[in-house]
Amino acid sequence: MSSEAVATASGGPRARLDRALRHAAVKPLLWALLLTPLALLIHGAATDRLGANPAEALLRGSGDWSLRVLLLALAITPLREALRLPTLARLRRPTGLFAFFWCSLHLLAWAWLDQGLEPAALLADIAKRPFILVGSLAWGLLAVLALTSPQRVARALGGARWRSLHRGAYVAGLLGLLHFYWMKAGKNDFGEWAVHAAVLAALLGWRLWRRPRRAGGPR
């Protein structure tokens, strides 16, 4: 038993919080939380409250949430360790899957609302524009991670291989950030982008800083 587990097994507010995280309602709550923006977008679209250009609002909204939820998924392990709440680990997989879900909605919004679901137009757009290509690559990477996320698959792949594959989540984050950068570059408007970049830099920095100390240890 690690020292961490010992610390939380004894009483105290942190242990109680960790136990509370094991409650059956926590995962449904996470689902509700990560689906709320979607409910708001759908409600907005149905009641004509997304402004004059609802297609643009859906495209941008789904893109924003893709990046946000991906950063949240990447933040779970650092938070688990920093706050010493081992049960947070249970929320990592569903949060990561939600990042893929949002990214898929974003891809669908682009393919349908922007490109009219024309296969030729979609392929041409990807081939022609690095902006679109990089976004599509991020989605493809998240798709691979989603498909390999069940424990069965992880076991079949072997722990080490699975872990290095799933560090691809950081690559997806970087691709997403580059895609977002290009989108904002047109308007020289980097405030929002800088916040996302700082979060990803901090998470990546933490990961690199931790590595030598816990070499070989479980992640």
């Binding site: 004059a52 297609a55 922007d114 009219g116 020289n188």
Partner: protein
Amino acid sequence: LAAVKSAVAGAVTMERPTSRADVTRYNNFYEFGTDKADPAKNAHTLKTRPWTVVIDGEVKKPRTLDIDALMKLAPMEERIYRLRCVEGWSMVIPWVGWSLAELIRQVEPTGHAKYVEFHTLADPKTMPFVGSRVLEWPYVEGLRLDEAMHPLTLLAFGLYGEVLPNQNGAPVRLVVPWKYGFKSAKSIVRIRFTAQPPRTAWNKAAPQEYGFYSNVNPEVDHPRWSQASERRIGEDGLFAKKRPTLMFNGYGAQVAQLYTGMDLRREF
């Protein structure tokens, strides 16, 4: 704002005008914020009286005109123009104003005048985002003199029969219907005639994305999106296919001759 239907060729499209609500709530006017809902929220601080417009540079009769005098310079006309934004959406807007050519004739450009520059007000007290680093302020746009003289080039003072709402560029703005919307400078305080091509706001910010001419052209894509089609605001449903964008925004019959012999892919 009383006006007569314009007799200028191409000045009154038969297409259905975009609702006044959309025209006045979905705007790009970065001096009031970069979100398209921002100008409608923030532009109430703009003071449109007193307002003067300086006309100078390569002209024989430079003038400084009070806005109310400027408005009386020529009879007001109603013109219903398509507006195509470089971002891939479009509207149909009933403007009120008169051809810029009326003013240009009165100030008599010199033989050196080749271009016309339009300066938007840049007042940090009434325009909260003039300090932002998105663009260089003041917002400057420009046309070649023959483009500025074209009868379709409109100096607009109103829309939907009323004076311009602040967020649409009150009290006076330019409307050049065959070019992307950003070419049509809003809230103009200075019109300057020059021998050299003006250094325009978006061209300075991203020259590879926004050329000096910026004529609507379905064959020249923006680096991040295609310009071949567009979404008509308030008309094309969420799942409707976007409509094809027309060369010169459909004003080719009137304006194509301005560009004979030019390679519009290179001079975009």
